[in-house]
């Protein structure tokens, strides 16, 4: 039987989940430092409880810890997400097009920042991290349908914001 207390098992869980936890908390609260701390805190808690948490439950456990960590603390903060810059491609696009693209991206950023936290988190986990709705549902502890609803609303809200409707 695999045991979370075994370093090998534990490290594997760490490697496969830490980045998602980081992103998850970052999308929620827009604070890299807090997201990093959440990863640490989640795994400290997992390590402390390694004897009590079965390996297949470890993932849900760390998300829950990370999620609960700032539940009441950071809710009110206004989010201003920053994204890593993708390496600029030597695109043949015209400067006008690039300008337009830049403009659109700024609009999208603003729209994402003003999204309700749960919609933004779901949307970005899906778009950036490629998480399936079922996975996100597990992380958030809600039904897949609820995630689909958030996804739908997120996209709808984004478009309404960007198109100025």
């Amino acid at each position: 039987m695999d045991n979370v207390c075994e370093e090998k098992v534990f490290n594997a869980i760490f490697k496969s989940n830490s980045k998602t936890i980081f992103n998850y908390i970052y999308y929620k609260y827009g604070n890299e430092e807090k997201a990093y701390d959440a990863v640490q805190e989640a795994f400290v808690k997992l390590w402390e409880n390694c004897a009590k948490v079965a390996p297949e439950k470890a993932k849900a456990f760390v998300y829950k810890v990370a999620n609960n960590l700032y539940l009441n603390v950071l809710k009110a903060e206004k989010v201003r997400l920053k994204y890593a810059e993708k390496a600029p491609k030597n695109s043949p696009e015209s400067p006008e097009f690039l300008m337009e693209e830049k403009e659109f991206k700024d609009k999208l950023d603003r729209a994402l920042n003003s999204l309700p936290e749960n919609q933004r988190t779901v949307f970005l986990l899906n778009r950036i991290d490629g998480k399936k709705y079922a996975e996100i549902a597990e992380m958030e502890g809600v039904s897949v349908k609820a995630i689909e609803k958030r996804m739908h609303l997120a996209l709808k809200t984004l478009r309404a914001q960007i198109d100025g409707i």
Binding site: F22, Q40, F123, I128, Y133, M151, L155
Partner: protein, 303 residues
């Protein structure tokens, strides 16, 4: 269009008809653009190896913190040492001798734990261990004291010059420099002097002057005269008489042309200095002068 069709669309779950209808809608281009732009986004970089290293380091720190708890163990050790020290000190102090002493011109009465009574004459010191009192009644004495010993286990008085052991009796001990006198007033007293033990029945005395045993007569009273504020002497060198006088009145005695070895027999008052001076000077054919705390004895025929 089904519920949450945008979510379904992103998940490629729309039916062909639905997809076709959606693609025809005017907002489709916008949605596509949003999704394409979103997919280009990247989360801030997360260095997983560093995070794991940080985690492991913090766990090690946790472990070091456990080691750091040892200062508290260290403190516990100090606390234990201090406690031991306190307890040891307590027992040490408890085992220390109870001490009573009298200054010159002072007298005190002591009741021992077994209700034995001790009258301590001027310029004397008595000490005993209260802790060991029940197993052995041991006292040490410098100076002079009158003991009324309650019946019980062996009662021992140790002095520089000799040791006195009794079971239950009344006796007087005087142990001064060069002068050692034990008088038994009741019962039987055992005196050890220079390794020799001597039994002293009631009404007898044992006297040592300058390391020599001097035969002496039995006292007639039932307690030493000093108890009644008189100092009595029977053939005692004058020097000891004057020493006693100094102790009783807390004065300095000086002599001029006086033979201090002459024997003195008599009594002087411990309460009236003028009377006492006369009591000493007249039989010794001496004159004296008293100035403040100084007494000068001088031979009468001297200038």
């Amino acid at each position: 269009m089904q519920e949450n069709y945008l979510a379904k669309w992103l998940n490629n779950e729309l039916s062909e008809e639905e997809l076709a209808a959606f693609e025809r809608s005017e907002e489709y281009a916008s949605y596509q653009k949003i999704v394409r732009a979103s997919d280009a986004l990247e989360a801030p970089s997360f260095d997983m190896e560093k995070a794991l290293a940080d985690f492991q380091a913090s766990q090690r720190n946790q472990e070091t913190k456990v080691i750091k708890m040892r200062p508290s163990q260290y403190l516990m050790r100090i606390a234990a040492a201090v406690t031991v020290l306190f307890i040891a000190t307590y027992f040490y102090i408890a085992s220390l001798n109870e001490t009573f002493s009298t200054e010159y011109a002072q007298r005190t009465e002591i009741v021992l734990p077994d209700a034995s009574e001790v009258l301590l004459n001027a310029g004397s010191k008595l000490s005993y261990s209260e802790r060991n009192w029940d197993s052995e009644r041991n006292l040490s004495l410098e100076g002079e004291a009158f003991f009324k010993v309650a019946k019980g286990k062996k009662f021992t008085v140790t002095t520089d010059l000799g040791t006195i052991s009794v079971l239950g009796t009344q006796f007087n001990v005087e142990s001064r420099k060069g002068f050692f006198e034990v008088t038994c007033y009741e019962g039987l007293v055992s005196v050890t002097f220079q390794g020799k033990e001597q039994k002293l029945p009631s009404g007898t005395s044992f006297l040592v002057v300058n390391d020599r045993i001097v035969p002496t007569e039995a006292p007639l009273s039932s307690e030493p005269s000093w108890v009644n504020n008189e100092s009595s002497f029977k053939s005692i060198p004058l020097t000891y008489v004057l020493s006693e006088f100094q102790r009783q009145y807390n004065v300095t005695v000086e002599t001029k042309n006086v033979d201090l070895t002459q024997l003195f027999t008599g009594t002087f008052s411990n309460t009236n200095i003028n009377l006492a001076l006369q009591s000493i000077s007249t039989p010794s054919q001496l004159s004296y002068s008293l100035e403040k705390n100084k007494v000068l004895f001088y031979a009468e025929n001297a200038p």
